[in-house]
């Protein structure tokens, strides 16, 4: 069954970021495997009711991360991607972002144990499927 992509136009997160984030979850989780073709920029823009440049930007961003192959005249295709070796700075930056997110969850009243569980489950979910 085809995967579903959802965006919220009332969200403060830019639509391009939402598309990239949603697709990345599907790519990391293995729901979109190597060789899978994605809908054309025109089709996706029409279905979502958004600008085609927004979709094109999202595809370009994912291509720059090494997830997609964009060749002129054919649809975007998922490709095999070698995992980059994370630098110490990158790890520090991600930790900081994760910390901020966890702090937001705790501030929203979510118990410590549940935050830890959620993070563990998400990591397991993403790595098990791939």
């Amino acid at each position: 069954m085809a995967q579903k992509l959802k965006i919220d136009l009332s969200s403060s997160t830019p639509v391009t970021t939402q598309i990239v984030d949603n697709l990345r979850v599907l790519l990391v989780g293995g729901q979109l495997r190597s060789g899978t073709a994605l809908p054309s920029v025109r089709r996706l823009a029409m279905e979502l009711g958004i600008h085609f440049n927004t979709v094109a930007d999202a595809y370009r961003l994912l291509a720059s991360e090494g997830w997609l192959d964009l060749k002129h005249g054919r649809s975007a295709r998922v490709i095999d991607r070698d995992l980059p070796r994370p630098t110490r700075n990158a790890i520090r930056s991600w930790k900081s972002r994760l910390k901020q997110l966890a702090a937001q969850m705790l501030a929203a009243g979510i118990p410590n144990s549940e935050v830890a569980n959620e993070l563990r489950n998400i990591a397991k979910e993403l790595t098990n499927d791939s």
């Binding site: 085809a2 995967q3 579903k4 992509l5 959802k6 965006i7 919220d8 136009l9 009332s10 969200s11 599907l26 979109l32 073709a37 994605l38 809908p39 054309s40 025109r42 996706l44 823009a45 029409m46 279905e47 979502l48 009711g49 958004i50 600008h51 085609f52 440049n53 649809s75």
Partner: protein, 325 residues
């Protein structure tokens, strides 16, 4: 007298459609206002419907009385129709203004399946080729029976049944109606294709394309019959009944198809970038966008095909006035 009674049928059909129009729309749309699906059972909704239907019924009754009491002036016969439509629009707008405070915000979440499945034309699109074939067949029949066509024949009749418009046996007179129908058919098929390839995938898209092709079929029945009138003079009452029956059938089919599609479409996510009555966005690839109130489509005026579809009917009217009729 029979013709006068027959002339009442379109009026009664229009009155019936207008009377029930508010309840024929999808449940989430009421007087063109996007509401909660159970809004119709609330007191403000019931009051609005009652007032509207009473007003339309009263205007229709006045129109009926006028039809039987009017003087023998053909243009006077149009007064009830005009009165009915103007009255219905006024009361509709009045209710729209009263109910707009209950309007819900359109959904802002849009969803799409990540499929590369191409847009294959459904089978009903191939059926759209039948009406042009009927036209071509009629043209061939007229060509083969050319000598049987009278040199001059009536093409229009007054309310008393007396002919008041004539045509001659010429290319323009004989094939003109068929050409007129062919031009409209091209537009209807073009609209169906534009909806299919230029709008988002949804049950509404299928329904509207089907309705376009149904209208094309009606043209494919009415205009060949009109074109064959010089050869055959069927009973006028029967002819009017067939035409009105076709129109009534089309109205019922359109309402049922649209309502069924709209009720399905209501459950799925609607793109937030849906439009009002006009829309202009160069970066949006859609030719037609679903209207925010759920009542069909509106053109994206930044798309040249949308302009073509909008201007083409005017071109048909001009061509018909200069070259055909």
């Amino acid at each position: 007298m029979i013709l006068r009674v027959l002339s009442l049928i379109p009026f009664l059909m229009a009155a019936t459609v207008l009377l029930f129009a508010p309840v024929l729309s999808p449940r989430r749309i009421f007087f063109a206002v996007r509401v909660q699906p159970d809004f119709r059972s609330t007191e403000p909704a019931r009051r609005a419907l009652r007032q509207y239907q009473l007003a339309v019924a009263a205007i229709a009754l006045i129109g009926l009385l006028w039809t039987f009491a009017r003087p023998e002036n053909p243009s006077a016969g149009l007064i009830p129709q005009v009165l009915l439509f103007v009255g219905a629009i006024i009361f509709w707008l009045r209710n729209y203004r009263a109910l707009v405070k209950y309007q819900m915000n359109p959904p802002t979440v849009a969803g799409v399946e990540l499929t590369t499945e191409p847009d294959r034309l459904p089978r009903f699109f191939w059926v759209s080729m039948i009406p042009p074939v009927i036209l071509a067949g009629t043209a061939l029949y007229l060509y083969l029976h050319w000598s049987s066509i009278p040199a001059q024949y009536p093409i229009h009749w007054g309310p008393g049944g007396q002919p008041n418009g004539w045509a001659t046996r010429s290319l323009r007179g004989v094939y003109g109606p068929l050409l007129f129908a062919a031009l409209w058919m091209a537009w209807l098929i073009g609209m169906a294709f534009a909806i299919w390839y230029g709008a988002r995938r949804s049950p509404l898209r299928t329904a509207v394309a089907k309705i376009m092709i149904a209208v094309e079929f009606l043209f494919g029945i009415i205009w060949p019959v009109v074109s064959l009138l010089p050869l055959y003079r069927p009973n006028a009452a029967l002819l009017v009944m067939v035409i009105l029956g076709g129109v009534a059938g089309l109205i019922v089919y359109s309402l049922v198809t649209f309502r069924r599609a709209a009720s399905v479409a209501g459950e799925e996510v609607i793109p937030a970038a849906s439009a009002g009555s006009s829309f202009f966005d160069r970066q949006n690839p859609a030719i037609l966008l679903p209207r925010a109130d759920g009542l069909g489509y509106c053109p994206n005026l930044a798309h040249p095909v949308a302009w073509l579809l909008l201007l083409y009917p005017f071109a048909i009217v001009i061509i018909a006035m200069i070259f055909i009729f």
